[in-house]
């Protein structure tokens, strides 16, 4: 084998440099939630964020929503499994488009709920599950389960968590006075704790109830009832998109999603 001549060596070096610089410059960048550009195939959807009081929103994110549903479940339990300092239902019948440009249409409609300082305190029953499939139907028959070994946080103190969920998602509240109030305004069938309510009920039943719900969920009402937070005994949230922020659309302080040793299984 002959050695390369001077011209061939020079060409080789030039090609190597161009290849390397090209790979540095043209590495595809992932889409960011707040970006206005990304991969050409992504359709961005504009989602307004809760500002922490009433149903007012502030700022927005423009994510590429995958369309995959993340199911966060705590099976109904008599003990408190999560706490939330404030809950708001911004509205149901929301239009959220996936990256392909198709409107996502969950069975119970698309609802926008928001939590203030969401903290999961009982890890035993918490399961995060997703169908993990963003391609064309039919989706493959496997599930991805994420099982944290301890308390985990999705939001944390003074962090607002906005969720776009299926209206059939449910919350079970573990407090007698809150349950009595909720049953009085027909949000739950049971007046004793723990009681379960469906997210879409607030959006679809009566507009007046929606306003009342927001008042119920305001921190002031919690103080009136002598509570520090909403004690959640169970939930089944079918989440299509989740965003955490500091109340004005900016990034939250610290780590807003914290997981301990977590077992990830595919079944």
């Amino acid at each position: 084998m002959r050695d390369l001549g001077p011209r061939q060596q020079r060409n080789l070096v030039l090609i190597a440099l161009l290849l390397f610089l090209g790979s540095l410059l043209f590495t595809p960048q992932p889409s960011t939630a707040n970006g206005t550009s990304g991969t050409a195939s992504c359709t961005r959807t504009s989602l307004a964020l809760w500002n922490g009081s009433g149903t007012s929103t502030t700022g927005s994110v423009n994510p590429c929503v995958s369309g995959a549903m993340l199911d966060l479940t705590f099976p109904f339990n008599s003990t408190t499994q999560a706490t939330i300092n404030g809950v708001a239902l911004i509205g149901c019948g929301q239009t959220v488009k996936d990256a392909a440009g198709d409107t996502i249409s969950p069975a119970g409609g698309m609802c926008h709920v928001a939590f203030n300082s969401f903290l999961v305190t009982n890890e035993n029953a918490a399961v995060l599950k997703t169908n993990g499939w963003t391609g064309a139907a039919p989706s493959p028959s496997y599930n991805l389960s994420i099982n944290p070994s301890g308390n985990f946080t999705i939001g944390g103190n003074n962090v607002l968590t906005d969720l776009w969920v299926d209206g059939n998602s449910t919350l079970s509240i573990n407090d007698g006075s809150l349950c009595a109030l909720a049953s009085y305004i027909e949000l739950t069938s049971s007046s004793s704790a723990p009681c379960t309510t469906t997210i879409s009920k607030y959006g679809q039943c009566y507009q007046g109830i929606k306003t009342l719900f927001v008042k119920v969920c305001a921190p002031g009402m919690l103080q009136f009832l002598g509570l520090n937070n909403f004690p959640i005994a169970g939930m089944d949230l079918k989440i299509y998109y989740l965003a955490t922020h500091n109340g004005s659309g900016g990034p939250p302080g610290g780590s807003s999603v914290q997981l301990p040793n977590t077992t990830i299984t595919v079944s």
């Binding site: 020079r10 070096v13 190597a16 390397f20 790979s23 992932p30």
Partner: protein
């Protein structure tokens, strides 16, 4: 030539019998030629520097352990191992096949090995960056071997007899 080779091996190394038949002899001769060619090839370029640099690149790629698909779609944090490790492999090969540009190849490989530390999993858990820096330095500093004093004396005696005082 072939007879003398056979005689030598039979007399000098009786415990290692020479291969019988033409195929064995031919293979041996080819092996010998290949070894000589490789030695000559190795000695005319920064071979060992290239070896360390290529190994560093492979180690960095392996340490990242992301699939190519994820690297192509996940952005810089997933692709950095492939870009940095691939760069080191590339410039290790450049040092081998374009030894005229060994200075440039060594310098760029050195920068890539340094940059791999903050970008690619601590440069493949430090090992890749260290190997890369050593390899790149060897490429950059490679050059013709300086003759020994004995060779110098011999050369000066042969070329300019009586002028050893100037060496």
């Amino acid at each position: 030539m072939s007879d003398s080779l056979t005689i030598m091996s039979e007399t000098a190394e009786p415990s290692a019998p020479a291969p019988r038949g033409g195929i064995g002899r031919r293979a041996l001769r080819r092996l010998n030629l290949g070894r000589r060619w490789f030695r000559a090839w190795r000695r005319t370029r920064p071979f060992w520097g290239g070896v360390w640099t290529i190994l560093a690149g492979l180690e960095i790629v392996k340490a990242m352990s992301f699939s190519i698909g994820l690297a192509l779609t996940g952005g810089w944090s997933y692709a950095a191992g492939y870009v940095m490790g691939g760069g080191l492999i590339l410039f290790g090969l450049v040092a081998w096949f374009a030894p005229t540009y060994k200075g440039l190849a060594g310098f760029v490989a050195f920068l890539v090995a340094l940059a791999a530390f903050p970008t690619a999993n601590l440069g493949g858990y430090l090992l890749g960056s260290v190997l890369g820096i050593i390899g790149a330095s060897m490429i950059w500093s490679w050059g013709p071997k300086r003759p020994s004093k004995r060779q110098l004396r011999k050369m000066s005696g042969t070329v300019t007899p009586g002028s050893s005082g100037h060496a």
